[in-house]
């Protein structure tokens, strides 16, 4: 009798996801899928609306990384306006995006993943949450809350609102930075440094105990893509895309937003509302690739900030070429938090950061435009077409999670094969299969421009598909 294990919902995840694991008559894992279960339709209902509304509308795709959507969207609008935004506006947006990266990584690492990492994959599910972490490891739990607050507070200082700030607009930002706010951010830095150093030290201490997870948590060769600067340093907001293969060879380089759609295609699988991005030159699924912190650190040759630079050198020691196990996304995330804090400090030292010229004005000067940015979980591309009046006639959005979709599915299968044996599995085994997904920190609201959740149900199916038994965890 074949059997399907359903993990529903996948918890401690940003959105609606299910995992199904198909067992054959011998109880061996035959296949496994990660399903994203909602769809919202931003690409379609944007039509007919003025392009300058897009940033604040598109931010509502995702409450976790609205800033990346704001920025990619504003950049697409600026391509339509054919303007270059003032330098200070560009620096302020960079800082905003970094602040968001810090808060989102803190959410992913501390609120969602750290219960597995600090309390244990097999720990009591009833206490496997951030409050359990604070109870067991108060300093680390509070460091996580503090790092998320650091990022969110900077966003609030700059944009007046922590979630969906209206400050980023086509052409730049609505208001310059005030000296008092700059000083307030500067005053927050020491605590943020202390928190991330604590977390990095704690992570390195425990990383070795996850040897087995590292081996089977989406540990395979793949291509990688991320933004990078001309000097090969990591970049989140400007720069151009580079793609490398599993040995680190450059496949594509210098790709700007308007070249994205020539490079990347999207495939559909019947079991998920999230599409599967791939490199057109290699086809689907051979052209699948990974994005996000792991990809960025595999691609960047330098961080450009002293503390993160040392951490990058240590990270690169994990493998002789690109680091392949998705478990290391966690480590990469912590290094990026450190980088974000350092870079924010550098940006604040820019003598022009308080400059009053922060916005360019223009109408429609091109009928098509694309913009890109790195969201915390990977590359984001917004592509719009407008009519002469600036009303949107077509939109396409390619989001991080879609680009990791193939790797997430392969990773779930790899872990399921390892942890589900002879049709038997423990709660901790299924939690590990879920934890594979958590390494990618997928934003499911983004990926389908969607979302939700439900109970874990184990359904036993007979060979002709009839439900024989149902067990609810």
């Amino acid at each position: 009798m074949s059997q399907t294990i359903t993990i529903d919902p996948v918890t401690r995840l940003e959105g609606h996801g299910k995992i199904t694991i198909q067992l054959n008559g011998e109880g061996e894992v035959e296949d496994a899928h990660f399903h994203v279960t909602q769809v919202r339709g931003f690409e379609k209902f944007a039509e007919g609306r003025p392009f300058y509304e897009m940033p604040s509308l598109m931010a509502r795709i995702c409450g976790i990384c609205p800033v990346s959507h704001l920025i990619a969207s504003a950049r697409a609008c600026e391509a339509i306006m054919s303007v270059r935004i003032p330098r200070t506006a560009a620096q302020l947006r960079r800082m905003l995006n970094l602040a968001q990266m810090v808060q989102s990584h803190a959410l992913s690492f501390f609120y969602l993943a750290s219960p597995d990492l600090l309390l244990g994959m097999e720990s009591d599910p009833a206490a496997r949450h951030i409050f359990g972490v604070v109870a067991a490891k108060p300093e680390l739990g509070r460091a996580g809350i503090g790092l998320r607050r650091f990022g969110q507070h900077i966003i609030e200082l700059l944009g007046k609102k922590r979630i969906h700030p209206g400050w980023v607009v086509p052409g730049g930002v609505t208001e310059p930075l005030e000296a008092s706010k700059r000083d307030e951010i500067l005053a927050m830095l020491p605590e943020a440094y202390a928190n991330i150093q604590l977390a990095l030290a704690a992570y390195k201490q425990i990383a070795d105990t996850f040897r087995h997870e590292i081996e089977v948590f989406a540990n395979f060769q793949s291509n990688y893509m991320s933004l990078i600067n001309e000097d090969e340093s990591i970049e989140f907001t400007v720069g151009a895309l580079r793609v490398i293969d599993s040995s680190g060879n450059i496949l594509e380089d210098g790709i700007l937003a308007d070249g994205f759609s020539d490079l990347i295609g999207e495939a559909v699988e019947p079991y998920s509302y999230t599409k599967f991005a791939y490199l057109k030159s290699l086809g689907y699924p051979a052209g699948s690739y990974r994005v996000g912190p792991l990809a960025r650190l595999n691609i960047a040759k330098t961080m450009g900030t002293p503390l993160a630079e040392k951490e990058l050198a240590e990270f690169k020691q994990l493998a002789s070429g690109p680091v392949q196990s998705s478990f290391h996304y966690h480590h990469a995330r912590l290094i990026e938090i450190l980088y974000g804090i350092e870079k924010i400090e550098l940006i604040l030292a820019d003598p022009l950061i308080l400059d009053k010229h922060v916005r360019a004005f223009a109408g429609v000067n091109r009928l098509e435009g694309a913009g890109q940015a790195e969201a915390p979980r990977g590359t984001l591309n917004h592509h719009y077409k407008v009519d002469e009046n600036g009303l949107i006639t077509w939109a396409n959005l390619v989001i991080a999670t879609g680009q990791n979709n193939n790797a997430m599915n392969r990773g779930v299968l790899q872990a399921a094969r390892h942890y589900v044996k002879d049709g038997k599995f423990t709660e901790g085994a299924l939690n590990r299969v879920e934890a594979v997904i958590r390494t990618f920190d997928p934003c499911l609201s983004c990926s389908t421009h969607a979302f939700g959740q439900m109970p874990l149900v184990l359904t036993l199916l007979s060979h002709n598909g009839e439900v024989v038994d149902r067990v609810i965890r």
């Binding site: 529903d8 919902p9 918890t11 401690r12 995840l13 940003e14 959105g15 299910k18 994203v36 279960t37 909602q38 769809v39 919202r40 339709g41 690409e43 379609k44 209902f45 509502r60 795709i61 995702c62 409450g63 976790i64 609205p66 959410l107 969602l112 599910p125 009833a126 496997r128 949450h129 951030i130 409050f131 604070v134 509070r142 809350i145 503090g146 998320r148 607050r149 969110q152 609102k161 922590r162 979630i163 969906h164 999207e266 495939a267 559909v268 699988e269 019947p270 079991y271 509302y273 599409k275 689907y284 396409n396 609201s445 969607a450 979302f451 939700g452 959740q453 439900m454 109970p455 609810i472």
Partner: protein
């Protein structure tokens, strides 16, 4: 006295309302002293518990799954709070209503796909024809507007609900806040 049981649920929203709950930062720890978060995207409970005191629900009702969930939540919850504009008015998710689900699906999975174009139909839930706010399906006890309601709003509202003090919502928040 035993702790109040709190659930937080995502339907068709952007998670911004949930993020705003987390924006209470350290105040969350004080809240967790007086309420037990029994069901939420940030805890590992897979099945909605039988007797929940307060449920904060984000998002509109957009799919058959959402509809099934909101009915189940209502049946097992004393006080149901529609949090955020999407839950209360349909807000952004309901922008697809004049277009209908077919055109949405066609655009995403047929027109904007370069390989294997098809409408996903395995395991994924069917979309409702019209996205509607929660109160059109079940009785809602408290409406907390905002996109999202701020962390201060959540803090004041949860404190009031937990202690039984009357809530002055217009003083706390507004639509689009």
């Amino acid at each position: 006295m035993s702790k109040l049981k709190l659930a937080t649920v995502w339907l068709d929203g952007c998670s911004g309302c949930h993020m705003s709950i987390l924006d209470m930062d350290e105040r969350l720890l004080a809240i967790a002293e007086v309420v037990d978060i029994v069901y939420s995207p940030i805890v590992d409970t897979k099945d909605y518990p039988d007797a929940v005191d307060i449920a904060l629900v984000e998002g509109a009702v957009a799919s058959v799954d959402d509809e099934r969930k909101i009915r189940k939540i209502r049946a097992h919850t004393k006080l149901l709070v529609a949090m955020g504009d999407c839950a209360i008015t349909g807000n952004v998710p309901s922008m697809r209503n004049p277009i209908g689900p077919q055109a949405i699906l066609d655009r995403a999975y047929i027109e904007n796909a370069s390989a294997q174009p098809q409408i996903p139909c395995v395991v994924v839930p069917q979309l409702l024809r019209v996205v509607r706010p929660i109160h059109e399906f079940v009785k809602v006890d408290v409406f907390l507007p905002g996109c999202p309601p701020s962390a201060d709003t959540f803090h004041a509202a949860l404190t009031a609900l937990a202690t039984g003090v009357p809530l002055d919502i217009p003083a706390l928040t507004r639509f689009g806040a």
